[in-house]
């Protein structure tokens, strides 16, 4: 039960023009791949730390996101992914 409550709080869901971006901060290891390889430069390193001591990404220009999904395929830690509107995943 307690893990379920923890799960509910774990993922941030950011609305974009074409769907959503999800960021699960506690999985992030701060490699910076999503920030560097985002073609629209949507993400930036956040000032805060996660529980591992890394700086997770933060969408500072979320309106530029086109939901290409490259962050979700390049992230080695399953910490960021996208969902296009109209799909269930």
């Amino acid at each position: 039960m307690s893990t379920e409550i923890e799960k509910e709080k774990a993922t941030e869901k950011w609305p974009t023009d074409k769907g959503y971006i999800y960021i699960r901060e506690d999985y992030c290891k701060g490699c910076g791949y999503c920030i560097e390889f985002c073609p629209q430069e949507v993400l930036e390193e956040s000032a805060g730390f996660n529980e591992k001591g890394y700086h997770p990404p933060e969408p500072t220009a979320i309106d530029k996101c086109v939901n290409c999904g490259f962050c979700s395929i390049i992230c080695p830690d399953f910490a960021i992914w996208d969902e296009k509107e109209g799909t269930n995943e």
Binding site: C31, E36, S72, I73, P76, F78
Partner: protein, 288 residues
């Protein structure tokens, strides 16, 4: 009007319990995984789960086998049928799995040290027999888990914990080895080519016969640190600059140099058709 207003408002996230789409094929309770920050193994796992999903392979029809090493951990994260074998024996185990259950989609997910050092013999014989399986090799140029010793793929001149004055051995050229041993599908990509990797995996999984995909991965903790390559992100940027795509080129010209400026040939090298081991065995035994 409304869109203008929407852009001016500060967008706030909503907290949810959503999970990464890859977790459909993964044991979610075992995440986050053990691999280092900047390691390419996680991206390779995502590409593989995406490929399974795209090909709509049911989770019960997949077998993932891995050997020992950092990449050996992968089998433990897959919620498919999976097995973490002894060192170098991923391919023999996968062979048994395929022969006892020919309908199963068998994937070997392992590293260069496991597949080509202690498991090199199994690799060439599986390729010679053309067993219907997909072998994914995540190449990080060294034995990462045991502390960064040099291995069969360490480029000449590169430093490792066991080659402090530089490695003077000649490394294997993996696509050339696979192609000359008889693999029907051979591709090489780097971790930065995430979409190309996924496409190559889809092609390899749907190909009948022995298909091989090599993924050049950063290893910031082992190989990268010893050779002053910087963080994982610096290694990915260097792959981006060094990679030259040459589809259907001769894999013997795809050697990897230690020089951080030298080009790396990537692409889909081989895509041919040859009868698989199971087909040959059935035909032969029925003709007797």
């Amino acid at each position: 009007m409304t869109t203008e207003l929407k852009q001016k408002e500060e967008v706030k996230p909503e907290l949810t319990s959503a999970e990464h789409p890859a977790t459909k094929y993964l044991r979610e309770e075992r995440l986050p995984h053990i691999w280092c920050s900047g390691c390419g193994l996680g991206s390779a796992v995502t590409s593989l789960t995406n490929a399974y999903e795209k090909l709509e392979i049911p989770i019960d029809d997949i077998g993932v086998v891995s050997g020992i090493g950092c990449s050996g951990r992968a089998a433990g994260y897959f919620e498919t049928d999976s097995y973490h074998t002894t060192h170098g024996r991923a391919i023999p185990f996968a062979t048994g799995l395929k022969l006892s259950n020919p309908e199963m989609n068998v994937t070997v997910f392992s590293g260069d040290g496991d597949l080509f050092a202690i498991g090199g013999n199994h690799f060439i014989h599986a390729a010679r027999r053309n067993l219907d399986m997909t072998v994914i090799c995540v190449n990080n140029y060294n034995f990462g888990m045991t502390g960064g010793q040099f291995g069969p793929t360490t480029p000449r001149g590169a430093t490792a914990t066991t080659s402090p004055y530089g490695n003077y051995e000649n490394p294997f050229n993996l696509p050339d080895l696979a192609a000359s041993a008889g693999a029907v599908y051979v591709a090489r990509w780097t971790s930065v080519h995430a979409r190309r990797i996924q496409q190559a995996m889809e092609d390899a999984l749907s190909k009948k016969g022995f298909s091989f995909v090599e993924i050049l991965s950063p290893c910031p903790t082992g190989y990268g640190r010893k050779n002053d390559l910087g963080e994982g992100i610096d290694e990915l940027k260097s792959y981006q600059n060094r990679a030259v795509i040459k589809h259907e080129s001769d894999p013997s010209e795809a050697e990897i140099e230690r020089d951080p400026e030298a080009e790396i040939v990537v692409g889909n090298f081989v895509d041919i058709d040859r009868p698989t081991y199971c087909e040959v065995a059935d035909d032969y035994l029925q003709s007797q």
